[in-house]
Symmetry: C3
Subunit: 345 residues, 3 copies
């Protein structure tokens, strides 16, 4: 797709400094851009690349415009504006509706004519797809699943029976939705009995689920993912977890069973939540944090055992790096005091 800078400025409400008729055809980094490229500057770490860029235009904040040698599209949120313009230049593939040879659709599965079902995909009994759903090669839609309009289930993703997923979602390859939660009860011999996992998974609209992420079905009742939630790769969501709208979670994070995470939270990579916690809206959790207690107030949290207020945690983290020095100072002090007191303890 190609766009003029004038069109981009108008469509996305940006001030343009430069030629409105100049054409861009693709996105590029500041460093790799060539004429025809649209670049952006959001992370200050890359500011030094701006003066040499060969892009046709750069999306950036007004403060950076002076240093820009080419066309400027000014935005208060350059990364957000860039995202929208990049979607103009690189729109997702248009569906080729139809059921490929080698796909298997159960006789009572509902697949509208506007859907694209790829080779090897399996649509099980009673599953119902909305309009313009994409089901990739070898993906599996379990019995009685419901998939909303415009949702894309990528190659080899698996939805267990009765999973419900909303509109315009994107479920990447290797994702498993609705496998059994880890519910086991121990008997007096030390052996374990499986606790039936009779709930399901319910996912809202505009949710993205990254590759190889797993979301377990509820033990009783459902595991619920709110509208607009974005999950990175290799995340584990336990049974009966709920996640509020527009919360985002980075790779390797894990949420144990029955923990409820609020709306608009930002969870760092490899953060881990114990079970049965309540996390408020608008909470930010640092990467690798181990959250063992509920959090009732919005704010930034990180660290371990339990997650403390961020400021205190950062102080401790700095001290950890000084621990060896700390212990040496203490030894020195002990010697000094010993001398001072003539060896009495």
């Amino acid at each position: 797709m190609q766009m003029t800078l004038g069109m981009l400025a108008v469509r996305h409400g940006c001030e343009l400094r430069g030629d409105p008729d100049a054409v861009v055809t693709h996105v590029a980094t500041l460093a790799a851009a060539e004429p025809g490229s649209l670049a952006f500057l959001a992370n200050p770490q890359y500011r030094s690349q701006l003066p040499q860029t060969r892009a046709t235009a750069v999306v950036l904040s007004a403060a950076d415009a002076e240093a820009c040698p080419v066309g400027c599209l000014l935005s208060a949120n350059p990364y957000l504006s860039y995202a929208a313009m990049a979607a103009d230049l690189h729109p997702p593939a248009v569906l080729s509706p139809g059921v490929a040879a080698g796909a298997r659709v159960a006789p009572d599965g509902k697949v509208p004519l506007s859907c694209q079902i790829e080779a090897g995909a399996v649509i099980s009994s009673g599953a119902r797809l909305g309009e313009q759903v994409y089901v990739g090669p070898n993906a599996v839609i379990g019995a009685e699943c419901v998939v909303g309009d415009g949702t894309r289930i990528m190659a080899a993703a698996v939805l267990y029976e009765r999973t419900r997923i909303g509109r315009r979602c994107l479920v990447h390859s290797g994702v498993v939705l609705g496998a059994d939660g880890f519910g086991i009860a121990r008997d007096s011999s030390g052996a374990w009995t499986k606790v039936p996992q009779v709930g399901s998974v319910v996912i809202g609209d505009d949710v993205e689920v990254g590759a190889n992420t797993t979301i377990d079905r509820g033990a009783i009742g459902d595991t619920v993912i709110g509208n607009g939630v974005k999950l990175d790769n290799q995340i584990q969501i336990g049974h009966n977890v709920t996640i509020g709208e527009h919360t985002v979670i980075a790779a390797f994070a894990g949420v144990s069973g029955s923990t409820h995470i609020g709306a608009r939270c930002i969870i760092g990579g490899a953060a881990r939540f114990a079970g049965h916690l309540e996390i408020a809206d608008d909470v930010v959790i640092g990467g690798d944090a181990k959250v063992t207690h509920s959090i009732s107030q919005p704010g930034v949290y990180g660290g371990t055992i339990p997650a403390g207020e961020a400021r205190q945690w950062r102080k401790n983290a700095v001290r950890f790096g000084q621990l060896d020095e700390l212990a040496k100072r203490l030894q020195r002090l002990e010697q000094l005091v010993k001398t001072l007191t003539g060896g009495r303890q």
Copy 2:
């Protein structure tokens, strides 16, 4: 399925307080229960929900019965009793034997008539299934694999060649059994040569393997998972690991090559084991523990570098939260002593 309270009490050896003819049809949480629901109380965190429950009956301990406004099924282990009753009310789906159109069974693969093989499943050459085995859509059973009676291999799970798995197991979607272990040898140029992984994976009876968990084949000899082991999602088990009977492991845990874990161990989420360790029977490892040394005695262990006895570890963990205060007290003390000694060091 529906059951009377009397039937449940008799079948599971519970004392009943309430109407033996009252009928329950499904399980529910204390908070969401309605007439017809069977609920349970095991975690004291939920005790406050008991007085308002609308369940027909609650499985609980004798100590909690007084506060229960509805029928009581008394058990010394309410969660275990609940698990068994839930399985009565929500039995697993009965198999629909047969090989679906679109499944591929090698001519020399052995698939009894009692098995259910779903669309897209692949049963490779020389594989042998027991009676009443379920192989889900797009699951892959490699060459010469052996799968025991009643085992279920869910959608898109993969068994590499020569994997052997026992009876009544449940292998969830995205699981990979028998991929190569991470065996590489470095040459003098810094490049790496692959070490052939010629062993296999052997899994006992009544084992559950959670979604996207990986168990590597042995380098020499087999990786062995004992009877009754329960593995959560996204676990990694290295080559030539052995895990004793009835050990359970939570999500994200990892066991490096040639480590041997005993029977009836309980391993917390994201716990990590170095290679070539010996872990005794009846060991409990806390979540996120990094185990770098062998453990010869039963007990509770946690923490880092290396895992220490739990009590000491908890003390250290508390101190970690006080580190900043500790350092400040030390500074104060140093000043004081400096004054005391007239500035001599």
Copy 3:
């Protein structure tokens, strides 16, 4: 395959002590070996098993030869020599060229006659395979992918569109190459907009990718994995990461977006890298290290917040285990000084 000790010694440049006509047919551990077995001794932890071994021959260093009761193949790098000999005794399966019934090859997909395509595999439009490529059951090769000669894509692995992979690679089951990176931009309401991920994944020659590992496609430009890189299971590589030649990474490690890792690095299990870092060649990162800063010098690094020089880090780690004792000593000292100063503070 069977080999004489003489053949092995000649082929792999080892000094032989023992009967050159003795035959070995398979590899085994020192403890489990029987006549006909080839064993090796590289890890000193297993030296005690040498005197009792029943192997026909053992690959070991000259220093260990004296204690060896059977044939010796002497090597300066016994594990490397063993790897090569094991590959002689246990060569990978020879391909059975052809496209299995139930595989789906797009009309414009290029699949040479020397390739083996298994049941349920999907070769999408415009994909081009080299000679002697293996595509396992239910694996998915996306549109416009390029796969080099001799590469093996195991069961149920997924390559998104435009992934390019070199020669003699091994991609294990459950691997996802080229899913979207985690690129999202927040608007003023707190909702997130997806940033199109328009780059791809480019993998060199002789790369191994472990089961369920995920490598995201570039946001702009490509994610690049160099020749000879070996990745263990369940690793996450973010968008626009580059990894230099012959670097190896253990299970559960994660590299955030736009971080560049040099050549010949060794990365421990569950090590995590923040985004936008530069890591030099020949860097060794300990298991569980959290790397938050760039590293410009070769060396051994480990620990947390940020990764420090290894020696200092190890000292701190030891001190962490002494923290409780440390705090008690401090308390004692404070009491002593209080006494000394008559209670004045």
